[in-house]
Symmetry: C2
Subunit: 321 residues, 2 copies
C-alpha cells in the first residue's frame, strides 16, 4: 500500500509541512511563509500550496493521501475546526480552517489539533514515547504547553482545553501568569519565565555573572542562564533549581492523576541538557511519596522541531485507520 | 431480560452488598461483618455468603448475575486481582481475592477496583454525575480519595494508582502527609486534617469557641468545626476557608488536566453543606484563569454511603456489556 500522510505545523511565521509514509518515515519537507498579515483565505491558500508541493516532492499525489493533520497554537475551537480569534492570526475571525482546507484539498479528512497536543502525539508515535502507551508531555518555550496520552490516545476533555498543563498551579498566590492565574507552572518554568526570574534577581542586586549580560545585551535569555550555570554562577544555579523543582512537582502531580509511564519535556529549554534533567529527577525523588517505589521515567523529547509535523501526520494516520 | 448485578463494598469492618436491576435500581441490600481478624479464606467466605444472601433476598439466583463488582480500599494490585498487603486486612498476604471470589461464585466475572474509583463510578452512573461523560471525584474522609471519569470510562494509568488525587501537591514543602509527601491536598482538606488544623490552632492559643470542645472532649472533629462555623466562630471560618481554598485550587488543576464537566465532592465532610460548597466555588472563581469563562460545575455527591455498592454494580454491568 502506498498511502502517505501529511502533517502540517501552522505557525504565525512559517507553515511547515511533512509528507510521511505509513511508518511515519519522512519523505519530504516543505516550509513556506504563513503571511498572517494577509487574509485568512490567503493563509489557507498558502497552506494548500505548501501541502501539495510537499506531496509532489515526495513523489506522490493528493490521491495517495487518506488524511491530513493540522496543528496550530490555541486558542481555537479544535473540535469544531474553527479559529475564532487567535493572537498569532490577527486577521482570523471565526475562520472554519478545517473545512476551508478540506475543500481546497478535494474533501480530504483534516485532523485539527492544538500544537502542543500534536507535538505530544509526535513524540508518542515516533519519539521519546514510542514504546509506551501512557505519557505526559510538556513543551517549555515562551509558555508551557502540555499533552496527555492515555492508553494510546490523546486525552480530551469536555471542550478543547484538556492538558493545559502549563496552567497547573504549583505555588498558590505566587507569580502572576499571563493567563491571569497566580502560581502556574508556566510562571516559573517556561524558558521565558526562567530568564525573567534571573533578570529580576539581577535587577534586585543579587550578585551574578549574569549582570554583565544584562548590562551589555539589555536582557538575559534562558540560554544565558544555562551557560552561566555551566561556569558555576550561583544565581544561575538557584534559578535552574527553582525551574527544576517546579517541574518535578508537576511531574508528581501528573503521576497521581493520569499515572503515565513516561513524562517527556520538550522545547528550546531542553538544550540545557542533563544538568537540568538530573535536577528535575533529583527533586522528583526527593518530593515523591514513600508509599511505594515509583518507576515513572522522566526524559527529554527526541524529535526536536519536527515533532509538530510528525505528530500531525501520526494523527492523520490514526484518523484514517 | 432479568439480569441483576451485584455490587460489593469490602471494608475493614463491614461487607456491604447490593443487588441491582439493569437500571441500577436497588433490589436488596445486605451487610455482614468482615471479620478481618480471621483468615483471608474466612473473609472471602463471608463475602460469598453475603452476596448469595443478597441475591436471594432480591428474589434471584446467582445464575441471573452476569458479573459482580468488588471495591476495596488500597493499596491493592487491582489489575491482577490481588491484595498484597493492606492496612485494613492485616491477615492478607498476596491473596488472589478476585480469583477466590470467582471460584466460590461458580466462575463468575468479578470486577475488582479501588474503593474511591468505585464510588466515583457510582456517582457517575447513578448520582451527581449521571448526566455527564466527564467528571472528577473527591471523597473527603480520613484521607482524600479520587476518581476520574473520562468519556464515560474510569481513567486508568499504567499501574493501579491513577487518580490518587488526595496526593496532588498544593502547597510545596507544606504540611507532612501520611504518604510521606509534603503539601498534599489530603494534608489540608481531608475531614481528619481539617479537624487537626483546628486542634493545632487552638493548642497554639488562637482564640476560638472550639477551645471548650477540645478541653471537654479531648479532641475537635470536623463536625465541630462546621458547627462552630455556623455559630460565627472566627477560627472555624479560617479553617473552613483554608479547606475550601485548597479544594478550589485542586479543582482548577483538574480542569487544566482532564477538563471535566463536573467535579463532585463526597464523604462525611459534605455534611457541612452549602457553606462549604459556596466557599469552594468562590475560591475557584477568584483563582481561575481569565482567558475564557469556565463552565465546570462543582457540586456534592448525592448517593451517600451507597455509592460503593452502586458503583461496583455499575462496573459489573459495564463489564457484562
Amino acid at each position: 500500500m502506498s498511502d502517505v500522510f501529511v502533517g502540517i505545523d501552522l505557525g504565525g511565521t512559517f507553515i511547515k509541512v511533512g509528507c510521511f509514509d505509513s511508518q511515519l518515515k519522512l519523505l519530504a519537507k516543505v516550509s513556506a511563509p504563513t503571511e498572517v498579515q494577509k487574509s485568512a483565505e490567503a493563509v489557507i491558500d498558502n497552506i494548500t500550496r505548501a501541502a501539495e508541493r510537499c506531496v509532489s516532492e515526495a513523489g506522490f499525489t493528493m490521491a495517495d493521501v487518506p488524511a491530513v493533520g493540522l496543528g496550530c497554537p490555541g486558542p481555537a475551537r479544535y473540535s469544531e475546526g474553527i479559529i475564532e480569534a487567535a493572537t498569532n492570526f490577527p486577521s482570523f475571525r471565526n475562520v472554519p480552517v478545517r473545512r476551508m482546507l478540506s475543500d481546497r484539498l478535494g474533501g480530504k479528512t483534516i485532523v485539527f489539533e492544538n500544537d502542543a497536543n500534536v507535538a505530544c502525539f509526535g513524540e508518542f508515535a515516533a519519539g521519546a514515547g514510542k514504546d509506551v502507551d501512557d505519557m505526559v508531555f510538556f513543551t517549555l518555550g515562551t509558555g508551557i504547553g502540555g499533552g496527555i496520552v492515555n492508553k494510546g490516545k490523546l486525552l480530551a476533555g469536555v471542550g478543547d482545553n484538556a492538558a493545559e498543563l502549563g496552567h497547573i498551579i504549583i505555588y498558590p498566590d505566587g507569580r502572576l501568569c499571563n493567563c491571569g492565574q497566580r502560581g502556574c507552572i508556566e510562571a516559573y518554568s517556561s524558558a521565558t519565565n526562567t530568564a525573567k526570574r534571573a533578570t529580576e534577581a539581577v535587577e534586585k542586586g543579587q550578585p551574578s555573572s549574569l549582570k554583565k549580560v544584562l548590562d551589555e545585551k539589555g536582557e538575559i535569555t534562558c540560554k544565558d542562564v544555562y551557560d552561566h550555570l555551566k561556569t558555576g554562577d550561583k544565581l544561575a544555579k538557584q534559578i535552574t533549581d527553582e525551574t527544576a523543582k517546579a517541574l518535578a512537582l508537576v511531574c508528581i502531580n501528573m503521576l497521581h492523576t493520569t499515572e503515565p509511564k513516561r513524562i517527556v519535556f520538550a522545547g528550546g529549554m531542553i538544550a540545557a541538557g542533563d544538568i537540568l534533567l538530573n535536577r528535575i529527577r533529583d527533586y522528583f525523588n526527593e518530593h515523591i511519596w514513600k508509599l511505594q517505589k515509583e518507576t515513572v521515567e522522566i526524559c527529554f523529547a527526541t524529535l526536536g522541531e519536527d515533532a509538530g509535523i510528525i505528530g500531525a501526520a501520526a494523527l492523520a494516520k490514526k484518523a484514517a485507520e
